[in-house]
Symmetry: C2
Subunit: 628 residues, 2 copies
């Protein structure tokens, strides 16, 4: 294990590697004219010893399942990341100098555009919790030999998500997890909160169930000993390293005013002269021992239940997870201590060992899901849809990570009833539509829910399922295999001579059906179940506009902004059909709700069958008018 | 101070009060048929002693600036909140029984619809960080005598935001802050992560700079001593109280399966028989000593700078804050350790004592802002717009709190350049539009920015300012007083015979102007600066549609979902003008950006002047077509 403790050659090699990492971090950032060289220099010794003597990684085979994982939670130290890749022989000197240029894989902060980068970082406090997810998967699902290393800055240690991560690492006793705190004392705009109070950091780490190892982060022997101890510890470890920002260059060391600034050519010349301006070379690294994950049983077709009686879509979600758990060995389920409400706990019936209780820590829950998909698992993560907002930054970053993560938010909308607005998701559709490449489902019945969960399992990117608290009637017992990404379904009318089209999703589909049935014989209403809010079924919407000569009503249990109404209008505009919409009414939640019974609140919000019927009559009326 | 330590009467009184709190919590939740009686029972003794002997609060004058503050971070214990209000004589027995009914002030989770509730809670892990904000304001701005108490559950202690809060309380040595951990061991779906490991909690509290006081939460004398010690401590305190969920009712005590469940009538009868089913009464409470905040200097009209040279709107934001700091004593500024990038640090030039460095802890930053407005301050809080997503749940809840908080997100869009997508806000408009009652500004020049900051200072509710990293030219030097909530401005064309209208905001206004100027003499383009994205200027949009015979182009540096395009279409639909839009092109960011120079990235995203000109030509073309 200890490669450096034998004095002489190997210590020299680490020192040479550290010098090269510093030089390359300066070279590439100066060539770019921007970047974070000083944040790279503080961690160069730590990373040199890790790369030379501890990281077991096959650089020619980044997908090798035995590879260790290294996540820069301090993603702004990207010059150091890319200098490491250069030293490992993964990229060339020439590519290194494309840093931050248009079209380069070497972006300002690392992203998985590069095969050696697991996840995008750059929003601080995220790399560590994601590393916890990779470690959890390795330990609890895969039985993998890999160790997970994550490098954090000290400024990011004020993010609560760091402590959610260490809490989980400690609770799960993830001995395969090591965080390295690069405590260089200086944040972006000056000293950090705790500066070099290493004891304070160590006390926090201990209190959260991890083993702190306090070292001088520029002492190569001490680093080597700490990394060796970390790999073989029986608990998760945190190396608390005292470092100097800008270490190795006299005019940068521990100086304020250098955060996120590249050196100019002249400064770089001086810095390289100090470091030793020798050509970069490729250093030997360690490969992992050969290992293959145990063969999984072949996936079977999930046996979805078929429902005839009313059931909440959240319950159908849980039962669909249970079916997936029985049919596939790669599906994992995470929940934020509300598994008996989201019904994610039903998964335990068929795959208890792949259920992860994440307690009330939504950021960590999403981060762990992102980490688990890094190693090939298929994660579903759930909480109340309202509390998914807690993890928005993590979801946003997951999209930049090109991660495939499935989220389910239960208890959507005012229809939850008595619990009141804090528990009602009224902005989740807006949030999830605005995630790059996302798929957004909002089912209205149990059979549909099961099929959409099945689609999510195979869907790349971020997908989201919005479920409802209350039992809802069964609308679908046939053509269940027709539900698809980008689909919709006509549940009333649709034979061509409808007077008005109502576009609904989830709970409001049932209200719209009630309204349509009540008006039978007076106004012919087409009810469209837009169960896929993104991508929405533009063709069906255009067809409905044409069939009704432009008479449309959209009704949703969501704020008026960012949800189904916006999605419908955007699709019509993109299809060049705005001018065909003669009358458009949008029923949505516009006033702050309180408590009450579900039906009372739907009515108070103006999205119940009664209000839909009024809107239909208004829209059906002759001539143009100014609708709501 | 110690009211209970004298044995006899007062101890009896506390015990009677605790019994009444338990009985009323059961009565109201049973009447409602839902709610969280067992979570209320665990904290009844703690709250009885607090109310009877320590909380200095004038129940007839909730706005008294000397009043202590009590925030239920565990908002689901609302039966206990309302039972306290009943015991203090603030509400009647009759109102208590309206709990959770439509139209009642006694919602499922407490909201400031009630005058004795500072903020809405119910999303766990938020009350404590908000309490930190109230304590910070009391200590650092107001010099107020009040003490801030907050009651948390134990399940919520896994939220990172709790530790952000305690970190700040410890760092700022907020001796006027006391958290009470109600460690009843049982969460919603079973045992909590740490169960009754009080030592673990105490170690965490200590490590985060606060003083732990570990007690039996049902020992009235111990509670009294702890509360007394907490008020007079020299550091922030955390009372770690071991409690029993359902305490006081034999069949509920420490039993699983009772979370969030009301007792039925028969169960309630049995429970009340155990507790002692006596009529409720009003108990004597303590008032604060009379105190008035020092008179603030009268507000002066802010002296906005007038700019003639290009300047980044983020810099103009900072200088506008400095002007506000000099003119008003109630404005406070918070920033997430990026004050030299958001330029919030400019506020320190005029009001250093009202600047709060919140370090990298966006949730705590927004929570502190919410807390500060509780006591009448006017907070502005800023970070990179991308990282504002970290606080979405807090912003959502702030709207339910009817809080007036001003947020500024800098570095919006791909135009930030080399730093790459992790630092680019491309979803912030979607997020902020979907906040109830929000105002969303996106200025394009420095003079406009200053005026919008001025409007925000007086604006109730949640307001948001989106600023740009790069310097932008000055467009406005006249009619600066015309900028208004719900306004827009025509910056090119507008005299009636324009062929195409381009709606832009922020950075894209300049691109649109370039495009319009280039096309001068060929196509007459109206450029609308939609600096107020919500509420958007519907009248100006309708007028533009009519003037151009329905030829519209919207261009934004944001994902296609939830931003300016959705806002424009929604406004036109609400105005009944969809059918007048003959051609509509929406230019927005649709592919994941990488790094590059700002101009390169604007062009690569298809939102530069060149693309706008192409779109204008497309839209201006004769006949209808299928635009993008």
């Amino acid at each position: 294990m200890a490669t450096v403790t034998r004095p002489g050659d190997e210590l020299d090699r680490c020192a040479a590697l550290a010098r090269q990492l510093r030089a390359d971090a300066i070279r590439c950032s100066t060539a770019a004219g921007s970047g974070h060289p000083t944040s790279s220099l503080s961690a160069a010794d730590l990373m040199a010893v890790l790369l030379a003597g501890h990281l077991r990684y096959d650089w020619s085979e980044p997908k090798n399942p035995a590879n260790d994982h290294l996540i820069f939670s301090k993603g702004h130290a990207s010059p150091l990341v890319y200098a490491l890749f250069r030293a490992a022989g993964a990229i060339s000197d020439r590519e290194l100098l494309t840093f931050r240029k248009l079209g380069s894989r070497l972006e300002g902060h690392p992203t998985p555009v590069l095969p050696w980068v697991d996840v995008a970082t750059g929003s601080l406090g995220q790399g560590l919790p994601i590393a916890v997810g990779i470690a959890l998967a390795g330990r609890r699902v895969l039985g993998a030999p890999y160790h997970v290393w994550t490098l954090t800055g000290d400024s990011e240690l004020t993010e609560g998500s760091i402590w959610e991560g260490l809490d989980h690492a400690g609770h799960a006793r993830l001995a395969n997890f090591t965080a390295i705190f690069d405590v260089n004392r200086l944040g972006q705009r000056g000293p950090t909160e705790l500066e070099w109070d290493l004891d304070a950091y160590a006390a926090r780490v201990s209190a959260f169930g991890c083993e702190p190892i306090v070292i001088d982060g520029h002492d190569l022997l001490a680093i080597d000993a700490a990394l060796g101890r970390a790999r073989h510890a029986e608990r998760p470890t945190v190396i608390v390293a005292k470092t100097l920002k800008g270490k190795g260059v006299s005019f940068l060391e521990d100086e304020e005013g250098w955060h996120g600034k590249a050196l100019d050519e002249e400064q770089a010349r001086r810095a390289l002269a100090e470091i030793g301006d020798v050509p970069s070379r490729t250093f030997p690294t360690l490969k992992p021992d050969p290992w293959q994950p145990p063969t999984r049983p072949a996936a079977r077709r999930p046996e979805w239940k078929t429902y005839r009686e009313p059931l909440a879509t959240r319950k159908a979600y849980g039962e669909a997870l249970a079916a997936l758990g029985a049919s596939r060995a790669d599906v994992v389920v995470l929940d934020g201590e509300v598994g008996n409400s989201t019904h994610a706990e039903d998964f335990k019936r068929t795959a208890a060992d792949r259920f992860f209780e994440m307690y009330i820590a939504e950021q960590q829950m999403v981060a762990a899901a992102v980490g688990m998909q890094v190693v090939g698992l298929v994660p579903f993560a759930s909480t109340f849809a309202a509390f998914m907002t807690r993890a928005f930054d993590f979801i946003r970053m997951a999209a930049i990570s090109r991660a495939s993560v499935r989220l389910c938010g239960s208890h959507a909308g005012v229809s939850i009833g008595e619990d009141g607005p804090s528990q009602m998701a009224l902005e989740d559709l807006a949030m999830m539509r605005a995630v790059h490449g996302s798929t957004v489902f909002y089912p209205c019945d149990a059979n549909q829910t099961a099929r959409l969960v099945g689609l999510m399992a195979d869907r790349p990117g971020i997908s989201y399922l919005r479920t409802t608290r209350a039992s809802t009637p069964i609308l679908y017992t046939d053509r269940l295999e027709d539900f698809r990404v980008g689909g919709s379904r006509v549940v009333r009318g649709g034979d061509g001579d409808d007077a008005v089209a109502v576009v609904a999703a989830g709970i409001t589909v049932h209200e719209a059906v009630k309204a349509a049935d009540e008006m039978k014989g007076t106004i012919r209403v087409r009810v469209i179940d837009a169960y896929c809010v993104k991508p929405i079924d533009a063709a069906a919407l255009v067809e409905a506009v044409r069939a009704t000569r432009g008479r449309l009503c959209v009704v949703e249990d969501h704020w008026a902004e960012g949800g189904l109404g916006d999605a419908v209008r955007a699709a019509l505009a993109a299809a060049g059909a705005m001018h065909e919409v003669e009358r458009f009414v949008h029923l949505a939640v516009r006033d702050m709700p309180g408590s009450g019974k579900p039906a009372e609140l739907l009515d108070a919000a103006g999205i119940s069958a009664r209000h839909i019927a009024d809107a239909v009559r208004e829209v059906a009326g002759a001539g143009r008018g100014r609708p709501r």
